[in-house]
């Protein structure tokens, strides 16, 4: 498998105060094409910062290469679903929010656009909400539209920042399945931040545990056979490993 993402010596400091600390320090990471990389880690450890750097939103020291090319600005090859509820454009309806990125990227056929929007709205269970404006949606619904919008673009790399955090168990389950299906079909690479160890085990082909200053504490393949359930072989063991590491993390602070 080819390396789609290579990070070496990544250091990030927001420099917002004279004595501001490095958020990420000399981080090295390689991700292969088709990987589903889940990132766990305590709140504030730099997960979001890391994927923002990969997405091209932040200046950084060190080197991030996507497909061999240094990341300097955002690109349509890396689509990000943000953590924030307000990432939809409030001046566009839900449907337009999904179609607009497609239009910009060359899909102009009306029927095609409608089909894609319909399919993806159905996927996230919001078929009836196409004409709503974002401010008329609940938190979870906004988040689902953002996911639909990201997936509709069929990007090579999908960066997701706790996308399912505000969804109920059912919707979450369904979307997890869909995400996995789409990734497999398109052979996309997914980098996925979550606080849910179970979710990481269910989805990830590889799981990363980040600790303070972006130190990679655990970086391992997830060998539990898909589809993963709590009853799968090796699940309990893996779960405990990450859970313990996270607690340990906590005690260190």
């Amino acid at each position: 498998m080819s390396k789609i993402l290579e990070i070496s010596g990544l250091t990030k400091n927001y420099h917002d105060a004279p004595d501001s600390e490095d958020i990420l320090k000399n981080l090295n990471l390689t991700v292969n094409e088709g990987d589903f990389l889940c990132i766990l880690g305590p709140s504030g450890c730099g997960k979001t910062t890391l994927i923002r750097c990969i997405a091209g939103f932040e200046e950084y020291e060190g080197m991030i290469k996507v497909d061999g090319k240094k990341v300097e600005k955002p690109g349509i090859d890396r689509i990000m679903v943000f953590q924030d509820f307000n990432q939809l454009f409030p001046w566009k309806t839900v449907r337009k929010n999904i179609q607009y990125p497609l239009k910009i990227n060359g899909i102009t056929d009306k029927a095609e656009l409608d089909r894609i929007a319909r399919e993806h709205l159905e996927l996230v269970g919001l078929s009836e909400y196409g004409d709503f404006y974002p401010h008329q949606l609940s938190g979870g619904m906004k988040q689902r539209v953002a996911i639909a919008k990201g997936l509709a673009l069929n990007p090579k790399i999908i960066l997701m920042d706790e996308p399912f955090a505000s969804l109920d168990a059912m919707t979450r389950n369904k979307l997890q399945e869909e995400l996995w299906r789409i990734k497999e079909k398109e052979n996309a690479t997914v980098i996925f931040i979550t606080h849910n160890i179970q979710e990481a085990l269910v989805l990830g082909t590889r799981i990363l545990l980040l600790s303070k200053q972006g130190k990679i504490k655990i970086d391992m393949e997830n060998n539990v056979a898909k589809p993963v359930t709590p009853a799968s072989e090796g699940y309990g063991e893996m779960w405990k490993k990450f859970n313990d590491a996270l607690w340990e993390e906590d005690e260190e602070n």
Binding site: F57, M80, N86, Q87, W91, Y100, P101, N105, Y133
Partner: protein, 255 residues
């Protein structure tokens, strides 16, 4: 509806107070005319003094000036978002030019553009382009980071980013700027007509005011002011409110 009722009641009260002050003879009649005189001047203005023609001429100048001013303000502010160098320069230009009153530039305008309509339009443009540019640039600068990132994320760059994200996201600022610009345009136009005069091309409502004043016909001046006010109300409640309702209010970006 409730809003409109409040406003009508207010206007009526205002008129009543006016008439009472008039009756009290607190001011010389020459400077504080009765409602009847003003009404009469208003009607006469349209019937005899071709106030309509003056108004239409002013409106046509305003529209030209506004169109040019708004378009230029948008173009420059948008370039300023795209290019840091241009932003530094344009910001300086705006800070400086916004302070120069139209009257002070009149000599230059006369020299550059002669004494025709163009000079008037130049002054109108001068009086709206800078405040509008400020509003637009301030708006652009306060667009929430997440929308910009959302736009860049889906591949928007340069002017497409401005059009697709900055502009709608800063629309409350932009609308605010348009309102200020519209008001400025009127004020500038009328002042210029009153200070500078008229040219062969035609005369506007400011000239009408000037003549009425020269003839110490204050009721006539008020009649002209009322025309301006009525136009203002039509534009504010007919145009701007409608735009607002169909944009920022619909989008949940303003109440």
């Amino acid at each position: 509806m409730k809003e409109a009722r409040t406003q009508i009641i207010f206007v009526v009260c205002f008129l009543v107070v006016w008439q009472i002050v008039y009756q009290m003879q607190a001011f010389n009649e020459l400077v504080f005319p009765s409602l009847k005189d003003i009404g009469q001047s208003f009607i006469d203005g349209f019937r005899e003094d071709s106030l309509m023609t003056y108004t239409m001429y002013s409106m046509s100048l305003i529209l030209k000036g506004l169109a040019i001013g708004i378009i230029l303000a948008f173009i420059f502010s948008s370039i300023a978002v795209v290019s840091k160098t241009f932003q530094a320069i344009y910001h300086l230009i705006v800070s400086v030019c916004d302070l120069l009153p139209g009257v002070a530039l009149l000599p230059l305008a006369i020299v550059w553009f002669g004494i025709g309509e163009i000079t008037t339009i130049f002054i109108v443009v001068h009086s709206i382009i800078w405040p509008m540019s400020r509003s637009i640039m301030d708006g652009y600068n306060s667009v929430s980071k997440i929308y910009i990132e959302g736009g860049r994320n889906i591949g928007l760059r340069g002017f497409n980013l401005v059009k697709g994200v900055y502009l709608p996201a800063a629309f409350t600022h932009v609308l605010s700027g348009m309102r200020v610009g519209w008001a400025r345009a009127w004020r500038a136009l009328i002042s210029i007509e009153m200070i500078f005069g008229t040219t062969g091309a035609g005369a506007g409502i400011g000239w009408f005011i000037f003549m009425k004043r020269t003839n110490v016909d204050i009721a006539g001046v008020f009649a002209a002011l009322i025309v301006i006010m009525i136009i203002g109300i039509i534009i504010e409640y007919g145009l701007f409110h409608t735009i607002e309702r169909n944009t920022v209010k619909k989008w949940g970006m303003a109440r």
